[in-house]
Structures are given as C-alpha cells and as structure tokens.
Amino acid sequence: MMAQTEFEMTDNRPLSNAKLAVLILLGSETMLFSGLIGAFLVFRMGNVTWPPLSHADIELPRIVTGFNTLLLIISGYTIFRALRSIQLDRVKLCQNLLILTGTLGLAFLIIQGSEWVQLIGKGLTLQSGVYGAIFYVLIGCHAIHVLGAVIWLAIVIGMAFSGRFSSDSHIGVETCTIYWIYVVALWPILYFLVYFA
C-alpha cells in the first residue's frame, strides 16, 4: 500500500536526534578550527622563517607533546572500548574505562599546562608577536575543547555510576564518545601543524 511504503520511507531514521545533533555540532566545530587554522596558515606562509627570527631561541616541546599526543590517542581507544562494553552490558568495565579515559584527558591537560608555564617563562607570550599568540590561541582553543569533553565525560561517569546505562539505553555514552573521539582526532593535525610546520 502506498501510504505504508511512504511511511517507512520517512520513519527510517538511521540516527537518533541526540546523535544527529552531536554530529551537526561537529560540523560547526570543524569550521571554528578551520578559521583558526586558516589564520595560522596565513601567518606561517607570510613568514619565510618559522619561528620568526625574533623567536629563534624558542623551541616548542615536541617530544613531551608527542608523548601527550599518545596519551590522547589512547584515551580515544579507551572511550571506544567503554562504548563497546556498555553495548555488551558490561557496566563495571564501562565505568572503569570511562574513568581511565577521563584520567588520560586530565593528564593531557596538566602536562600541556605545565609546558605552557615553561614557555611563558622562556618569553613566549601572547604579546611577543603572532608566533606566540597564534600558538596559544589555537592550542588553547583545543585545550578548552578537551576540558569541555572532560566535564561532559564527568557527567557521563556520574550517570554510569547511578546505573543509567545499559545495552539498550546508552545514548549518553555514545554522544560523549563521538565528541571525545572528534577532539582526539583533531589533535594530531594541530600537533603536526603547530609543532612541525
């Protein structure tokens, strides 16, 4: 029957509202970072030497940040495993993996923060020219997103411990996982651009 087929046509919704909304949000985030990366590239292309001669003595902590990158990538894997485990109804494992993920995220932020303190000590500040300024704004913008993801995850962990999630109902874990993995996947791009380009 005609009505029947049409009904199926529109009600066939592959994504729930919440999941779709998070994916749409990521589109917006991508454009925000595109704007900032665009600005970075304008400054990078506009200078023959990078860092500019005035910053010749500044060296960005590539190795420590490389380690930090590793931490973040592992956290992306752990949250993915957390989602898998709740899908299999292994609530306890899911809780542990979520906590591990959050810890890795926090560790990333703490290590990055301490690196910033050292860099500021060496004279790389917002006011010292666009090299430092775009570094802090671009990396800082990502750090704010990591912080936001950690706070979001903390709420999800709280909900996980109050037994809200099961294999049938875990959209909270799922949306948080999507966002977390986006923030993780963004980082290597920024790491390569800002620390090596």
């Binding site: 029957m1 005609m2 009505a3 029947q4 049409e6 009904f7 046509m9 529109t10 009600d11 919704r13 994504l15 729930s16 509202n17 919440a18 779709l20 909304a21 998070v22 749409i24 949000l25 589109g27 917006s28 985030e29 454009m31 925000l32 970072f33 595109s34 704007g35 900032l36 665009g38 600005a39 304008v42 400054f43 506009g46 500019p52 005035s54 910053h55 917002l126 006011q127 010292s128 020219g129 666009v130 090299y131 300024a133 775009i134 704004v137 913008c141 979001w152 709420i155 999800v156 909900m159 809200r164 109902s169 959209i171 909270g172 949306t175 948080c176």
Partner: protein
Amino acid sequence: MQENENISHEHDDDEQHEHAHDDNDTPQHTHEHDDDGQHEHEHHHEESFIRKYIFSLDHKMIGKQFLIYGLIMLFVGGGLALLFRWQLAYPGEPLPIIGASEQYIEDGEVVTKNDERWEKIFESEKEELMETHFPNGVIEDKTYNMLFTMHATIMVFFVVVPILVGAFGNFLIPLMIGTRDMAFPILNMLSFWLAVLAAIVMAAGFFVPGGHAGAGWTGYAPLSVDPQWTDVGWGQNLWAISLLIQGFSSLVGSINYITTVINMRAPGMTFFRLPLVIWSLFIVAILLLLAFPVLSSALALLIFDRLAGTTFFTTTTEGGGDPLLWQHLFWFFGHPEVYILILPGMGIASELIAVNSRKPIFGYRSMVYAMIAIAFLGWIVWGHHMFQSGMRPGMGSFFMTTTMLIAVPSAIKTFNWLGTMFRGSIRFTTPMLHGIAFVSMFVIGGLSGIYMANTPVDIYIHDTYYIVAHIHYVVFGGSLFAMFGGIVFWYPKMYGRYMNDTLSKIHFWITFIAFNCTFFPMHILGVGGHMRRIANPQFYDFLQGFEGMNIFITMSAFTLGFAQLILVFNFFWSMKLGKVAEKNPWNVTTLEWEAPTPVPHGNFAQIPTVYRGPYEYSVPGEESDWIPQAQPEHAPASAGD
C-alpha cells in the same frame, strides 16, 4: 545539557506510546514517531504564565518571541538610520525635537526650552552621553560612525536573522513538516534567551564612554583593533562579545532546525514534498551552522588583539599580523551570511506566490536545486568584497567568475516565480503584493549585483552609495518585504485573527513607494561618486550638487520609517480586535493549516500523514482548486507519485 535531553527523551517515549493509544484509532497511525516531541499532553495541567510566555518550550511561542524581539530591534535599527539620514540631508544642523535653536548655538542665547535643557547638560559636571554624542542636538562625526555601524549590525544580526530564521523557522518548521515540536525544546529556549542576552550586551555598548562600535558592521581591521582610529573603547569589545553570544544562539538554533527537519517529518513527508520555505530554512540552518563559527574565530582573535595585546590584525615591525586576514575571515562568513538573509525570503515568497496564484510552483525541484546551488556558491565568492583591498588581481578574476555564476540559480528562481504567476488566477491579497514586491525588488538588487561583480566596474563604484542601494534592494526590498508578507500571511495561524486588511494594504503601498524613493536614487548617487560612510557630503565640492537628492532620500526614509508604525499598530491591534480567522483562511495545501487555530500545545490532534507534494493547486479534473497535502488519494489502488 545533552544528557538531560536524553533523559527527558526516554520519559517521553513512554508518554508518546500512551498518546498513540489515546488519540489514534486508525491503524496507519499506530506507529507514531517514537520521540517526535517532548511535549506535555494537551489534557495536562494549565501552564504557569512564566512557562507559557517567558521561558516557553513551545516552538510557536518561541517563534512569536523571536518575532516581537525582531520587531523591537527593527525600530532600534531603523531609528539609527533616520538619525544619520538627517545628518546626510542637513549636515551639522541640530536634530528636530531635541536640537537647540540657532541663536543658542551661535551666541549662547537661550531661546527655547531645548536650549535650557542643553544649558543644563553643558553646565553639569557629569559627562553625559548626549553631551558627547549630540552636543546641541548636532550629530558628531564620531557619533555618525557609531550610527551607521550599529544600524547595519542590528539590522543584520538582530532583525533579519531573528525574524526570518528565528521567528518563521520556529513557528513554521514543526507545523509544516507535521510534528509536535522541535527536536530539542530546551535548546530552542536557550537559543532565544542567548539572543536576548546578545541584544542586551549590544545595547549596553551605547552607554559606555567612547560610544558604540564605529568601524562599520564589517569591523575592518585595523580600524576595529586600535582605539586611536575611532576613539571607541569598550563599545567595540561589547560589539564583538555580543556577536559571539549571538553565534552560540545561532549554533544551538541551527542544530535544532537541522535535526528536526531530518528526523521528525510526518509520515509521507519526503524531502521533495517539503514546502520551499522549509527547504530554504533547512539550507539556511546549514549555512548558519558552518558560517558563524568562522566569524566567531575572527571575533575571538579581535578580542585578543584589543584586550590581550596580541597583533593578529595589525602590522608591527616585530612579528606583526595581517589586516587582510580579518577581511578574509569576515567575508568567508559574511557572504554566506548574505544568503542567510535572502534565502528564507525566497522561501516565503515562493509560498505567497504559489498560494495566491492558485498554481503549483513552477519547477519545484529546480527551485530546490537553485537554492542549494546559491548556498554552495556562497562559499567561494567572498573575495568579491575585497577587489579593492590589495588582494592579488588574479584572485579577483576568480571571484568575479564565481560571483557571476550566482546569477544563474538566481535567474532560475526569478523565472520560476514568474512562471508560477503566469496565467494563474492571481488573488491580489496583501501577502501576494509583498510577494510580488519581493520578486521585483530582488531583480533590481540582483542586477546591480552583477554590475558590482565585475572587477573593472567595481573599482569605480566600490564604497559608494551604489553598494548601499544594492544591499538595501536585496535585504530590504527582498528579505523585509518577504517578512512583511509572511507576517500578514501566517498571522491568522499565529494569533487566530486576521490583520486588518486596509491597514496592511496602506502599509504595503506607503512602504513600497517610500522604499523605492529612498533607495533608488542611491544608485545615481553612487555612480556620481558619492562615497558611503561619510558624515558630511557638503564637505566635498563634487558632491554639492547632490544636496537636493540627499534631502529627498531623507524625506522618503522618514516616510518609510513612520510607515512601519502602521504595521506595528496593526500587529498589536489585530491580536485582540482583528477579525477571527478560520482554520485555513487562504485555502493553503500545506500542513500548518491542518492544525486547529489557535494551534494547541502539541500542534496536531493526531499527526497527519502526507500523501502529495505541497503545491497541488488547480489540479486538472479536480473540483476544488487546492488539495491539501494530508488528503489521501481518491483510489487507494493508484500507486505512484
């Protein structure tokens, strides 16, 4: 936020199932959408005043809130325009009503009551705003900068987008796609209140020392970066902060719109059965979602430049930035933004014209594809705002070509509107008049756009009144006429009453004539070399001859401004005293007219099923000249679209 949303979702699932049992007895409706609305039941308790009118979660109320918000801001933005129009016609002369007398200004002799007031203001120790901005009622040059900057900022970000996207989007999307509410009602409320917060921050800028932002609505660096050029202090910061907040409001709103349109359409409502206005709002939501963050990134860098001492947009000897970067980022946002302003107008005009011509829209699919093409091309034309910026000339030819390409989908739309009207049984209702005005004004604005797309022509008319004429023909002649038409057209569904037709028609004709008298002569001014954004045209010898034309434009502008009072009077008067409207007063096919009037919480007694496209008017062989989308086929056996 997201989690809370999910919880309420789960609750509502249960409610929804109940609902399906309660209200729907026809078998095809038993598989209701699982979560098409976190609405309360209609037979639930009466909502409190605050829940119903202020922190409302109902998409219709939020839409009306956006409408009132936009109308208030329309008068703020329009008032600013009238102030600087006065200055352009009578440079240096005191404003009417508040201005001091000539004797007082010349020899300090107090003659009128106004003079006494000014005397008091000048004598008081306190630095008053009036004293710094309008001494003796005369507009200072710096004040003039503030006036035109804020006029454009308010009109673009606080009038056209909130009304066309916020008000019509919220009111129409759930009703026209046949669902009970937006996907995320709480986010929807948040979107409105963030917009209010943005408006408050923006308004605060008028009252800080140094006045409001004065670098143009485009906020070009380094003008906007360094107070030494404009003398503006916190005004510019508040401008940037307010737009950042408005960005969050748009983000939340567009996530909501896109999710709702993708996921919550009524049974049978395929994408190609969506009314064109929903298509336009859907496309605009995507543009807003992707364009605004780019402006946000630029605004963030601007705020760092102003407050944290960075030099992203200024060149210094040591590690300096790039002023052109601002222009690139701004216009990468700015050009999609221009289409955000016009696309909903195109959608609304399509509805008005099809309904009142009693004909299907000509080339429905090509209308959709044309809008998609315009939205896409909008991303690769931003450089046409920068022909004169010192950008590489080769880039100029690229942007010239892409810009002229936009004429193709725009022309498709225009001819489709004409094709829709051609040999239709046209009803010259007020909404139709506005629809026709939209098309004709849009054509004038579109054609002048092609002139400016040409680099050699643009080098001459760039930064003149020609571009002011162009933008107003598109945004006032286009978007605002569509908006007026939309208000009159959907008013019976919004408030259950008609707007007074005589007043609506008077409003239309005065607006239409005064609009053309105001903006058409600006083409001539522009070709004559009259620069925009100058406080005193009489200062230049070659502009002396334009004095009469400037006075004429100002007179027309005042007429245009005061004509809008008719609209507002009619709007509020009709709410209580207008003729009561039946369910479907204009005989329209689309779903919003299936809902009872006034539309209850939850919109539809039962979710309608859609059987046909949105524009089945004057179908051959049918008795009635319109077939609602929700009307089943006569013979159920005849499958096929």
